[in-house]
């Protein structure tokens, strides 16, 4: 608006800074909107300049990433054994949650889960032997994320574990995840006692074949549809999966009964019914298979993985390929189960923040009033957390909606540049593991991602833009 046009208009002011100026304007009946401003993260000027010079290019590429995320169609299509289907899986390989890490730096729960996995695989007879093997060079460790896979908490996947097989029908890519073991003493929290191994064996010999038969009978199950409905029913499909599990149960039950003996069907259905988090191991790979399709778009600063291994917090961007940007994982300040405190808590762990990466979980907490006690109890807070996440995302989901925000789409496609520029960090729902192996979950709550990986990612991203430009220059010359 030209200067003289301003003189003909009613003044409408956006006030960034002192709120007293907003108050004064209101006193003279002028329209004013206050911005609740935070300083940006400190980042080197050169990176910022590269990014601002490429602003419209990045915007265009980010739109491409977002489109791919929104177009994704995750289906559960099969169950299989890890070594048979997971790309790059080897007999001596163990997959884990989070960015790459070696045994020396792994936290207690992750080590415990690996010990359990080695016993389960028959590679070790007892925990002592397992620990020796785990620390030797015999075992190759690799992040789930690098194999189209995700796992909650420790996220341990060993070769003979059964996994869900998901397909993104729109783009043809697959993702994998183990089945959820339920609560209590479970491998994902680092427990490896006899009962843990026994339950896993039952899952392999009874649950897995029964569900495989049922899924094959149905052909496929539309997970996007279940998630969309669950959001309308009070889930955010990370810390609350009760509605989604129920919806899944309604779809799978007839097929389980049809394809299995009654006593097996009863046990399988009771198992699913008895675990409100059963669907978590489907919502996670549904997000994974959706986001993987948005990888490798040069010039896109959209986050395609955000995950923790109990030691480090790492992210990957669409525009920077397989590169990880990591920093220390924070210790969640959560609500603790009686008898436990923050001193017992392990650093944040698990691939489950893939849900936030896809605009669910903490990003959709406004859809889940039942779990607002994690954030202080006021429903307004939940709304505000979700509304704040729109500040750092490229767009909004077309199908996943939040009823209490007038069915606005969930904030989707985290843009690492916005995170750093606005100093607003992704908001993550999380479970808290005890820092010692084998004790299990000690609390649940919410936390903000740490800033460090995002700053590194912006710098790495700026570097990738510069490289590309240099290459182009070279081409033009030659």
């Amino acid at each position: 608006m030209a200067k003289n046009d301003l003189f003909d208009k009613d003044l409408k002011v956006i006030n960034i800074g002192l709120t007293s100026f907003k108050d004064s304007l209101e006193e003279v009946n002028t329209d004013v909107m206050q911005v609740d401003w935070k300083p940006p993260a400190e980042i080197d000027e050169k990176a910022l300049k590269i990014i601002s010079d490429n602003y419209s290019y990045i915007k265009k590429e980010n739109e491409k990433s977002l489109k791919k995320i929104l177009n994704g169609t995750p289906f559960l299509v099969d169950l299989d054994i890890a070594i048979e289907v997971i790309p790059g899986m080897k007999k001596n390989m163990i997959l884990h949650a989070g960015p790459p890490i070696n045994w020396d730096r792994m936290c207690g729960p992750m080590r415990g889960a690996i010990i359990g996995a080695l016993i389960y695989e028959g590679l070790a007879k007892n925990p002592e032997e397992a620990e020796k093997i785990a620390a030797s060079n015999e075992i190759e460790y690799s992040p789930c994320h690098e194999h189209g896979t995700v796992g909650p908490m420790a996220g341990i996947v060993s070769p003979s574990m059964p996994v869900f097989v998901l397909k993104n029908e729109e783009y043809g890519n697959h993702a994998y995840c183990t089945m959820n073991e339920g609560l209590g003493k479970v491998l994902r929290y680092g427990a490896f006692s006899k009962e843990v191994i026994e339950k896993m064996r039952w899952m392999e010999s009874v649950l897995y074949p029964a569900l495989k038969r049922a899924v094959n009978e149905l052909g496929k199950i539309d997970l996007k549809n279940i998630i969309a409905q669950a959001l309308h029913m009070g889930d955010e499909v990370h810390n609350r999966n009760r509605a989604a599990t129920s919806l899944f149960y309604r779809q799978i039950a007839p097929a389980v009964i049809k394809t299995n003996d009654t006593d097996i069907a009863v046990k399988v259905l009771e198992f699913i019914n008895g675990n409100d988090h059963f669907f978590l191991n489907l919502s996670m790979p549904a997000c994974k298979v959706t986001l993987d399709a948005a990888r490798n778009i040069k010039g896109s600063s959209v986050v395609v993985a955000m995950t923790r291994n109990g030691t480090d917090f790492g992210i990957q961007l669409s525009g920077t390929g397989d590169q990880w940007f990591v920093g220390p994982a924070p210790i969640p300040d959560a609500l603790f189960f009686p008898g436990y405190t923050k001193d017992d808590a392990n650093r944040d762990i698990g691939d489950s923040s893939i849900t936030e990466t896809n605009g669910l979980g903490g990003f959709a907490i406004a859809a889940s009033p039942a779990i607002v006690q994690f954030i202080g109890g006021a429903a307004q807070d939940a709304l505000n957390y979700t509304r704040e996440m729109y500040e750092i995302t490229e767009g909004e989901n077309n199908l996943y909606q939040i009823p209490s925000l007038n069915f606005r789409g969930t904030p989707t496609g985290i843009d690492v540049v916005k995170v750093v520029e606005k100093g607003i960090l992704p908001f993550i729902d999380t479970g808290v593991a005890h820092k010692d192996a084998g004790i299990g979950q000690v609390g649940a709550g919410v936390l903000s991602a740490p800033m460090e990986p995002f700053i590194k990612a912006v710098q790495g991203f700026a570097g990738s833009l510069e490289k590309k430009k240099n290459k182009n220059n070279y081409k033009e010359l030659s």
């Binding site: 608006m1 200067k3 301003l6 003044l11 002011v13 956006i14 004064s24 400190e42 729109y390």
Partner: protein, 524 residues
Amino acid sequence: MVVKGKIKRGEYFDSVTLMIVTKQINGIAGITDAAVVMNTAENRSILDSSGLLLSEFDEAKGSDLLICIKADSDEIAGKAMLQVDEVLDKVRHSISDSEDFLPKSLETALKTMPDANLVLISVAGKYAAREAMKALKKGLHVMIFSDNVSLDDEIKLKKYAREKDLFVMGPDCGTAIINGVPLAFANIVNRGKIGIVAASGTGLQEISSIISNNGAGISQAIGTGGRDVKKEVGGIMFLAALDALKSDKNTEIIVLVSKPSAKEVLKKILGKVEDIHKPVIAIFLGADEKLFDGSKAIPAKTLEEAALNAVSISKGNNYNIVQDYLRKRSIKMKDNDKLLRIVSNLSMEQKYLRGLFCGGTLCEEAHLILNNIIGEMYSNITSQKEFLLKDPWKSTKNTLIDMGADEFTVGRPHPMIDYSLRNRRILQEAKSPEVAVILFDVVLGHGSNMHPAEELVTVIKNAHLQSPGGIIAFVCSVTGTTEDPQDKKQVVKKLENDADVSVFESNAAAAEFAGLIINTLSNN
């Protein structure tokens, strides 16, 4: 004595909030000193100078909050530390509980208010330029209240704005009135046909208030920030604003105001005035009178004169009547009973003037006037080296202090809001047996101190008690209008009746009277 420190990671609060918190903590019995600040380089140097920069703060990052408490005992320090948490928590929750969701960024704010047309920015200087550029790129006019924006950034912003035909008022623009709406520190004035372009905040306030108090009104008052008329910026926004007023159909008379500035920029401005077919009155404080030779612009020597000229023209009169009025007033002032009464009450020893200003331009103006009347004036803002105070905290002979200068405002609210530093200085000056006159300014309006008269009356009564001579002459002007939240009429009444202050209708008149007292004393 114990010193306790604490880092709160990633906790951002704006500086005003933190100053309120610090004030509360300092008020606790047993606390010697306390600081609650964001971890910036500037704040670190402040902490360092007050011995509050603890070694444990070395590991703090940019977005961390630093708390340091000096107390009589461990227990008191610990309690104060808890109280800091409590107060901060209250601040944070008063926002989230009492208000609906606030957008966290300009782009989100624009979604809620898509027809916004101006962005007012008052975040810390090092971030202000980026926010301003974002606003300009969205096609919005900008006013930057923040100071400490780099000169390079200012030039870049203004060049960009010039291309897009947008305003960038500031950085360090304290006031503006657009479409009748007072922005930041502005007064409530009549609307009318006089437009102002000002590279001076209190200059704009003084002129717009006097115009309004004399029955005329303001169409637009555009602030540019003081640096706009420096050589480096070259008056980009001053010239652009002048252009805007030139073609504004509601502006019939234009007033230009600037503090001492680059001659070549002033020439450029006067060059532009030649194409304007509206009366233009200019007050360029400290500028060479020859600059106006052959110019269409009507020069004024004081802010008041500029304002009265504009009023006179707007009422269809010749501005020569203003000259007459001012001349007659000067004569009257000289053989005034009040002057004689004041002088006779002062002791032989009392001979010097101390001026304590919160308005930078008002201080400059008083300096020019008193230089003519008294001569040698010491100051913290003078360009004459021999009269520049070595230590701005200590006055000598006849001294004028701009209390809004950086040395007084780093880490503190501006003296227009918070009188505490000037109040202390008034008492300090009063204790000197040589001080006869204390000259000061009172600036009203939105954003300024809400209870100026109450605070000043208390301090002035106290000052008389502290004065070795038993009495001091207090002289001031009150910049503002009766429509201002503080109500000028009430403020003047209280100062005159409750503290026997000689209150004048303009800063220029107050300075002149103060100078007359000193001259009369020295002639006696």
